[in-house]
Structures are given as C-alpha cells and as structure tokens.
C-alpha cells in the first residue's frame, strides 16, 4: 500500500465576509505517486482547498495530515518540498524569464538546473525576454517551471493548462506524468475534463464546497456510464444508426444479424463522458 501523503478529514472553511462555507466537510486521501484531481466548476471550493493545503489559508476546521503530521505544525520549511502552479501568472513582468527563475530558485535549498526545464516547455529561446512581453500561454508555462524549481516531492497545480494551446498543453501533461512516474505526488485542481481523464488516478467531484464522489475515472465511467453499442450502417443509400444493450451482446441475434448482413460504417461503445457523469452526480454544469 502506497504511503499516505495527504489525509483530509472533515475540512471546513468559511471566508470572513461570506456566510456560506467555501469548503463544507470534505474528506479525501492522496497517496504517494498518485495524481489526485479536484474537479469542479468555478467557485466549487477546489482552489480554496488547494490554498488551505499549501498553507495560504488558515483558520480551517477539521484535520489535515501531511506525511503523517498535522499540517498546522509545519513551519516554512514545508515549502522546500512542494511546488505550486497557480492559476494565474505569478512573475515580475519587468524581469526576464531567466531573472525570475534565478530569483525564486535562490530561495530554496535544493535547486534544479532551470535550462532543461525551459527547453522542455519551449521557453529557452525566450528566457532573456521580459516576462511582460510573454503571451498568456508562455507565462503559464513559466508558472509550471517555477513550480519545479526546487525539485519538489509534491506538486499542487491549479488549472495548469489554462490558456495553453493543445501542443503545449500536451508537453505539460507529459511532464506531469513523468513527475508521477518518478515517484512524485500531484494534486490537480481543474475544470477541464480532458486533463482529469488523461492524468488522474483518482478524481474528487467537488461542487458547492462538498465532495460528491471520489473514484478512478474508469470506475466512474463503469458506474455511471451508459452500457450500449451504437452501430452505423448503410441502408438504401443512407446512413442508419441502431443501438444495442452492451450486456450479453454476443448472444443478441439482432446485433449479430446486423453486422453479418449490413455494410457497417462505425461501431461505438456508448461511453459516457466525465462531463455527463459530473452533471449526473452533482446536478451542475462544469464548463465555465
């Protein structure tokens, strides 16, 4: 059994000026080498949960243990071993990319060579340009490099592919996967189903400050998905679709007859998207 990295029990948090709880009694556990996704729409409580976990928000109720020790007992050395990727760019705009990385890097005991990271995310050629001249996507990639500066054990990522084109989003997702394969643990907050589906070992659906369901993407699909098969075929010069129950399909005479006698164009199992499952479980739309 993998080691527990983070264990959250009955976590509650209310912002001073709000009457409603931003986080309302959530429980979850993240194990070593796992990518754990907090999935939910804006205002669901996922960023608040992240801020509590990285010790930016205090005054919460419930308990959080980090590597088996109460999170509130850690001092600032806690930050030596974690990396945080914020949702918005977090750099000095009048310094270059390289100057920004050099400044933040010096604040940690453990430092990595930034050059290969910048090369990997496609920023090496632009490292001597002012960050203020970067595009949103470039700033987000620099955010990700910033999160890896201290060779962290645990990564906290908030909407990490926000504003990235598909090619660069792929690079970041590959790097996250490699981080996990090297033994790292990731807590990923996002509203993007693709990210969750591709990366996460476990997902927590969060809405209105509560976790509605926690499971692997596959388990969620098996539990909530539609078990059907759609067959498209040619009939009288037109494309026709028929739907069959997936259960015992090998003995379904109509299905077997159809695939024997017709010119089949496509066959799809009726997998439900995580989007649909999220709406089914929480009753809320995820897209922002």
């Amino acid at each position: 059994m993998a080691k527990k990295i983070i264990e959250v029990k009955n976590l509650r948090f209310t912002y001073q000026k709000d009457a409603v709880k931003a986080v309302d009694g959530i429980d979850f556990t993240v194990h070593e080498g796992e990518i754990f996704g907090l999935l939910g729409p804006s205002g669901a409580g996922k960023s608040t949960t992240q801020k509590i976990l990285i010790r930016l928000l205090k005054g919460y109720e419930g308990s959080i243990s980090y590597f088996g020790k109460d999170l509130s007992t850690y001092d600032n050395t806690f930050y030596e071993d974690i990396g945080v990727g914020f949702e918005l760019p977090v750099h000095f705009s009048k310094l270059t990319g390289a100057e920004n990385m050099a400044f933040f890097s010096k604040l940690y005991k453990k430092q990595v060579d930034v050059g290969p990271l910048l090369k990997r995310v496609g920023l090496y050629e632009d490292k001597d340009r002012l960050v203020g001249e970067y595009s949103k996507g470039m700033k987000m990639r620099l955010n990700f490099v910033r999160a890896l500066l201290n060779d962290p054990k645990v990564l906290f990522l908030d909407e990490v592919t926000n504003g990235l084109d598909p090619k660069n989003a792929r690079i970041i997702k590959d790097m996250i996967r490699e981080f996990k394969e090297a033994g790292g643990t990731v807590i990923l907050s996002t509203h993007l189903m693709n990210d969750v589906e591709e990366l996460c070992d476990n997902i927590a659906f969060i809405s209105s400050g509560k976790i509605r369901e926690i499971a692997t993407p596959r388990a969620l699909k098996l539990k909530h998905g539609r078990r059907i098969v759609d067959v498209e075929y040619q009939h009288n010069g037109q494309t026709t679709t028929e739907t069959f129950e997936l259960d015992d399909i090998g003995n379904n005479a109509d299905f077997l007859n159809l695939i024997k006698t017709r010119e089949i164009e496509t066959i799809h199992s009726g997998e439900t998207s995580l989007d649909d499952i999220f709406i089914k479980v929480t009753g809320e739309q995820i897209h922002e």
């Binding site: 801020k51 990285i54 930016l56 928000l57 600032n76 050395t77 806690f78 930050y79 030596e80 974690i82 945080v84 914020f86 918005l88 760019p89 977090v90 750099h91 000095f92 705009s93 009048k94 310094l95 100057e99 400044f103 933040f104 010096k106 604040l107 940690y108 005991k109 910033r146």
Partner: protein, 239 residues
C-alpha cells in the same frame, strides 16, 4: 547568504529594473536644481523641507505603489509559498525603502553642508532618517493592505498629505502659528519634521524630541503588529 539577504538583493534588482531608483535620483536632481534656483542664501532653508517630503511622502508612495503593483502581478502570493518567513518578506521592502531614504538624506545633507552653509548633524540625521522612513514605510504598507484598489491607495495618500503633511509644511513656513504645535503632534509627519529640523541644527525642545521618537517607534510597532502582519497574507492572496 540567508533568504532575507536574497530578498533584499531581489528588491534592489527590481527597484532598478522598474526604474524606481532612477526616479528617486531624478527627484533628488530636481530638488538640487530648485535649490540652486532659489539661491545660496535661501536654498539652505529649504533643504530640510525637501528632505522631509522625500522621507515621508516618497516613502509612503514607494511602498504603497510597489506593493500594489506586485499584488497585481501575483508575486506577493508566490513569495508566500517559498521557504521564507513573512517577516523577511516585509522587512526586505522596508530595508530597500530605508536605503533610498538614507541615500537622499546623505545626498541632501552633504549638499547643504558643502554648498549652502547648512548646519548638518549627521549623527542625528542618519538614525532619524531611518526612523522616519521606517514609520512611513509602515504607513505605506498599512494603506496598501487596507485599500481595495489603486484609486483607493491614491485617495489614502492624498488624504494623508492633506491631513498630516501639509499642516506640518505650513507650520514650517510660519503659515500656521505656534499655538498649532501641540495639535500637530498627533501627526506622524510633524514629529518627523521636528527630527529633520533638529538634524539641520534647528533648536527643538528635548521633550518634543523624545515625544516624537517615542511616537514614531510606537506607531511603527502598532501598525506592524495590528495591521500589516495580520492583513498581509489575506491581501497578498486575494485575486
């Protein structure tokens, strides 16, 4: 080298990159030009007044605007997730503000001494500059953690100038009479002005000097303990 030293080095790097050091130098050059235009005989009288404005208003503006800009860039937040103490983050900005103030004080002090026959007591000027700049940096911090936006910050600075700085300047220019002095003592700028005056050889009652020093020390402590430190994180992480 500890993290405080690294943060201070970073502050100076940014002060140069954001052209704040150069702007400060520009203001000082402007003071020099004005002083030479006023002439050798009268110019010396204005040096304490110019220094007073540099140490008070410029320091408030430097810290307030700097923090506001950094909050917009979310860099205050990202510093909070480094293995750095909050006190080091706050002190690094104070140190840079105090350095700029000391630079102005030394420059204007030497200018007065060498070219305007001013009496300059550097043994008062340097520690009092440190105290005045520290207090006003803390006032700048207070404004920036209490106001909502840049307009609010400007309004706070303008109100401070009108309520506190201008009466002290009017008093220095004899527009306000001596009867106002005790009322003016509730203003941190007036205590600052008395200490600057003392540094430039003006006679100030010992009781007023002690009162001014105690007031500035107490105000810095109160603002730091009850406003700046408790509110800093809340403000830094607000998006």
């Amino acid at each position: 080298m500890n993290n405080l030293t690294r943060l201070v080095a970073g502050e100076f790097q940014r002060l140069a990159k954001y052209k704040i050091l150069q702007s400060g130098l520009g203001v000082t050059v402007l003071w020099v030009l004005v002083l030479f235009l006023i002439g050798r005989d009268e110019g010396g009288l204005f040096i304490p007044l110019f220094l007073f404005m540099d140490l008070t208003m410029m320091t408030v503006l430097l810290i307030g605007a700097g923090l506001f800009y950094e909050r917009q860039e979310n860099t205050l937040k990202t510093l909070l997730i480094t293995p750095t103490k909050l006190s080091h983050i706050i002190f690094s900005k104070l140190i840079s503000a105090v350095y700029i103030a000391l630079q102005s004080a030394v420059f204007l002090g030497l200018l007065g001494y060498l070219f305007f026959d001013s009496t300059v007591k550097f043994y008062y000027l340097l520690p009092f500059t440190l105290l005045i700049a520290l207090t006003h940096a803390m006032i700048g911090y207070t404004f920036s953690v209490l106001v909502k936006d840049f307009t609010g910050l400007l309004a706070a600075i303008m109100s401070y100038m009108i309520l506190f700085a201008f009466p002290s300047i009017f008093y220095a220019l004899d527009i306000l009479g001596d009867t106002w002095e005790y009322l003016l003592l509730i203003s941190p700028t007036h205590g600052s002005m008395l200490l600057v005056d003392l540094s430039f050889g003006k006679s100030v009652a010992p009781a007023l000097i002690i009162l001014s020093v105690l007031y500035l020390v107490a105000l810095s402590f109160i603002l730091a303990k009850f406003i700046v430190f408790p509110k800093y994180i809340e403000k830094a992480i607000k998006e």
